[in-house]
């Protein structure tokens, strides 16, 4: 049945002593988190036009001629004004979309004169696509209105709180704390990397962060689930060994799922073009961080806290004899 030897990324049984490195890893995580938080304020997140607003400009060629959108995007991007939006639009006079007109949106850097920036943009466009006419220069506001912003934050906070409660009730309180700590850790580090790589923070980045949260949660729950199972199975084994065992047992799944997700995102980053690049890289890094955190943030917190074991002995919690010769 087996057509080819199945690839194995790991030997069938691993015995990594994860917990041994929990302390340095924890210190590293803490340092990186602090650095990320500092980074979010200084130099600060590179807020995109979605959040900060900017200026917009209409560019038109005579009717029937085609204006090269990517040439414009390339030229204006070269000015270092951050992400540039170029969107084709129907002609103002007859509302016919013949590809001759575009709206260009860009940011006006702080402290710079708008008219001056607009002149630079116009010069760059002239050079890229030849003679065009400009109209409708105006200031544009942010896409994220106050209500949208506050409701988004509210939603996020409520979602985190509810996940915390869910894990608290499904597992133990310390599991809930571990999971939420891991999640906050992932969120902060993803922000840090966005700052580090000077990616523009846009609405798409918000989606990327939400996705990272979702992935991190999924990964953590998988590890915790195994941990809970092993805690019941091996009542006398020291907690640190149970954690190591659970991490090792889930490791091959963690790696396979992680590699799949990262692989897809790498493809998206390589072939997806400029528009998808920052988004896919942020997601990819977030998923790597999320995988790391379920090993080194969630579980160690449980160890720090300790787990009540064997307090209530129910049927399920009794040691199960499975004839596992290879297991301790």
């Amino acid at each position: 049945m087996r057509g080819w030897p199945l690839i194995k990324l790991l030997p069938q049984k691993t015995n990594f002593r994860f917990v041994r490195y929990a302390l340095p890893a924890g210190v590293l995580s803490l340092v990186l988190c602090v650095a990320s938080i500092v980074g979010c304020f200084y130099p600060g997140l590179n807020m995109g036009i979605d959040f900060r607003g900017g200026a917009s400009l209409e560019v038109a060629k005579p009717a029937g001629q085609v204006i090269e959108l990517d040439a414009i995007r390339g030229a204006v991007s070269g000015l270092g004004l951050g992400d540039v939006g170029v969107q084709g639009i129907a002609r103002r006079d007859n509302n016919v979309d013949d590809g001759s007109t575009a709206i260009v949106r860009f940011q006006v850097p702080e402290g710079e004169d708008q008219t001056h920036v607009v002149q630079r943009v116009e010069a760059a466009i002239d050079q890229a696509v030849g003679q065009v006419t400009y109209s409708g220069v105006s200031v544009v506001g942010s896409k994220v209105s106050g209500e949208l912003f506050t409701s988004g934050l509210m939603a996020l906070a409520a979602a985190v709180a509810l996940m915390f409660l869910y894990i608290w009730f499904r597992f133990e309180p310390q599991f809930g704390f571990g999971a939420v700590a891991g999640l906050v850790h992932d969120m902060i580090l993803t922000f840090g990397l966005i700052v580090l790589f000077k990616f523009e923070f846009s609405l798409n980045m918000v989606a990327a962060i939400l996705t990272v949260i979702g992935y991190s949660m999924n990964d953590t729950v998988v590890v915790f689930d195994r941990l809970r199972e092993n805690l019941r199975k091996y009542k006398t084994m020291p907690l640190r060994d149970v954690i190591d065992l659970s991490l090792n047992e889930t490791l091959s799944r963690t790696i396979i799922t992680g590699v799949t997700a990262v692989g897809v995102l790498a493809i998206l980053a390589i072939f997806g073009g400029e528009a998808l690049f920052g988004f896919s890289i942020a997601l990819m890094m977030g998923i790597i961080i999320g995988t790391y955190s379920s090993i080194y943030v969630g579980a160690p917190i449980i160890m720090l806290w300790g787990v009540k074991r064997g307090g209530s002995v129910d049927e399920e919690a009794k040691p199960i004899k499975l004839g596992m010769a290879s297991r301790p």
Binding site: L6, D97, G141, M217
Partner: protein
């Protein structure tokens, strides 16, 4: 669990058929879709503004009109307040950013001054007083907006309009329009897809100012004869052209509305149900108990919807508005009322077609890379778990993709780039479910169980983890959908759909296909096991293959 149960096969088959039926319109051209018979689903995926483009409206917020209106309301406030205090006035005049009222009796001047000061203080928003009352010569009092308030009025109106417009055109939160301020008093609205610009304009074009006012019964007869309108009344019409003389004083307005819904009257015709907040309910209760037997008018944007007689005091704070509405009209009105009133009228300055925000080149690249990504998953799963087990999870993924397209087409949620992020997560989690199951099977096989036992245990034990992980995600997604707005909501919706479809397809499809394989092939070894394990053997033998 691993037996081939009939209901699972039926369920997978049904979902496949339903998925195909709902996703099918996506491969048709718009003309072909339109010619489908009526009972077939016709909706294709709704792509977002960033992927597909749509319509573009440039709106101007009519700030002067709003300013005018607010000053008129100010005059009415003063008139009512002074009457309640029994202070006689000679008249109220408009002047600049406010009104000037002259008091008839100098003895009442101080009383009037205090009353108007209180009125000004009552209107203070966030501790900042917007209105001031100043003493003038000849027993006159000037009641006006501060310079600051007048200057801010425009900006505030634009901000409020943006929120109202968003609530109206995106009441479900899954349409994902882009609404931005442009310049000082303009708003650009871009809505995705082939959404009907005329409908868009109709929805945006109404201020949706709902008021309840008493009909001026005492003066109606006189007005009909002489055409004389008392200073505290106005003349309004309903849709049929009937004329009403209505008191200017607003009993309750749309601001006190907490919820409107489509309802029906006693004879089953569509009506609009409404519910007031505490303050609105109290005012409505007071007004109705004081005026039993008299008619009041329900007015939307200066048009009388209906003018029923008050049969009894309405203290519960809810009721229905009857009128000659069609169902579509009623639901559009409900949407307007729930979105809140626009602070100022909006004028459409420009309407145009726009193409995708990301640009056609970017969208094409995105589609290509998604396809490559999928191939990568397929190859990777095949390499890791072999033709059979890998293939089964790929089939599960395909069904998952089909069901997602079907569900998104059915609910007409808009697929945007953030939504695609949600989908990538969904696929990752779907693959994860299969990986969890297979790794569990391996574990069990390793510990010396038979093929059937290890597959059974693999499903059973992995299921708990899968359910936990997915429920956590679902909890988060539902909360984000409830509280979030705009892109957060769109993301949450895609994620919610994805959790259901991926749980179903990756677990069910694997169960059905693998149990069928188990039944027909009667395998001696588990193909994904590390080393072939002899059936029911306690020790693994290395030379079985």
């Amino acid at each position: 669990m691993i037996q081939l149960s009939r209901w699972k096969v039926v369920l997978v088959g049904l979902s496949l058929v339903l998925g195909l039926l709902l996703a099918y319109p996506n491969v048709l051209s718009p003309e072909q879709r339109a010619s489908l018979p009526g009972w077939l689903p016709k909706n294709a995926l709704n792509l977002g503004l960033d992927l597909q483009g749509g319509s573009h409206l440039l709106l101007e917020v009519d700030v002067p009109a709003m300013r005018e209106k607010r000053i008129t309301n100010m005059a009415e406030d003063v008139r009512v307040t002074l009457r309640e205090e029994r202070i006689n006035i000679n008249g109220i005049q408009r002047e600049g950013g406010g009104v000037v009222v002259s008091i008839a009796n100098p003895a009442q001047f101080d009383l009037a001054m205090t009353a108007i000061r209180n009125l000004a203080a009552a209107g203070a928003a966030g501790g900042v007083q917007e209105r001031t009352a100043t003493r003038m010569s000849d027993n006159r009092i000037r009641y006006a907006f501060t310079e600051q308030a007048l200057a801010n009025m425009g900006a505030t109106a634009v901000d409020q309009s943006i929120e109202v417009v968003r609530r109206r055109i995106d009441s479900l939160g899954t349409r994902e329009p882009s609404i931005t301020r442009q310049g000082s008093d303009r708003i650009v609205v871009q809505a995705p897809g082939e959404s009907d610009p005329a409908q868009l304009e109709r929805v945006i074009g109404q201020t949706a100012q709902l008021t309840f006012q008493m009909v001026d019964v005492e003066n109606t007869a006189n007005f009909m004869q002489t055409g004389l309108v008392p200073p505290d009344a106005e003349v309004l019409q309903d849709a049929q052209g009937n004329i009403y003389l209505v008191k200017k004083r607003i009993l309750v307005s749309g601001e006190n509305l907490t919820r409107a819904s489509v309802d029906s009257d006693q004879s089953g015709r569509p009506a609009i149900g409404f519910r007031f907040d505490g303050q609105g309910a109290r005012r409505f209760g007071e007004a109705t108990s004081a005026n039993i037997g008299k008619p009041f008018a329900i007015i939307l944007d200066g048009k009388v919807l209906s003018a029923p007689n008050i049969k009894s005091a309405i203290t519960g704070g809810s009721g229905i508005i009857e009128g000659n509405f069609g169902l579509a009209e009623a639901s559009e009105m409900v949407n307007l009322l729930n979105g809140g009133a626009l602070p100022a009228p909006l004028k459409v300055e420009e309407r145009r077609v726009v193409s995708a925000e990301l640009g056609a080149d970017a969208v094409a690249k995105g589609a290509l890379s998604t396809a490559i990504g999928f191939v990568l998953i397929v190859v990777f799963m095949m390499l890791s778990y072999g033709l059979l087990f890998g293939g089964v999870s790929v089939l599960g993924l395909l069904l998952n993709g089909l069901l997602i397209v079907a569900a998104m087409s059915l609910t007409q949620a808009t697929l945007t780039l953030p939504g695609i992020a949600g989908l990538i997560l969904t696929f990752a989690v779907a693959v994860d479910a299969n990986v969890l199951i297979y790794e569990r099977m391996r574990d069990e096989a390793r510990s010396g169980r038979s093929v059937v036992a290890s597959m059974d245990a693999g499903f059973n034990k992995a299921m708990g983890t899968i359910v936990d992980a997915n429920l956590t995600t679902l909890v988060a997604a539902l909360i984000m959908f409830m509280f979030g707005a705009g892109p957060v909501r769109g993301f949450a919706w895609t994620l919610t759909i994805g959790v259901f479809t991926s749980m179903f397809s990756s677990v069910m499809v694997a169960q059905v296909l693998l149990s069928w394989w188990l039944k027909t092939a009667k395998p001696k070894t588990l193909p994904i096991a590390d080393e072939p394990v002899r059936q029911a053997g306690k020790t693994a033998t290395a030379a079985a293959e």
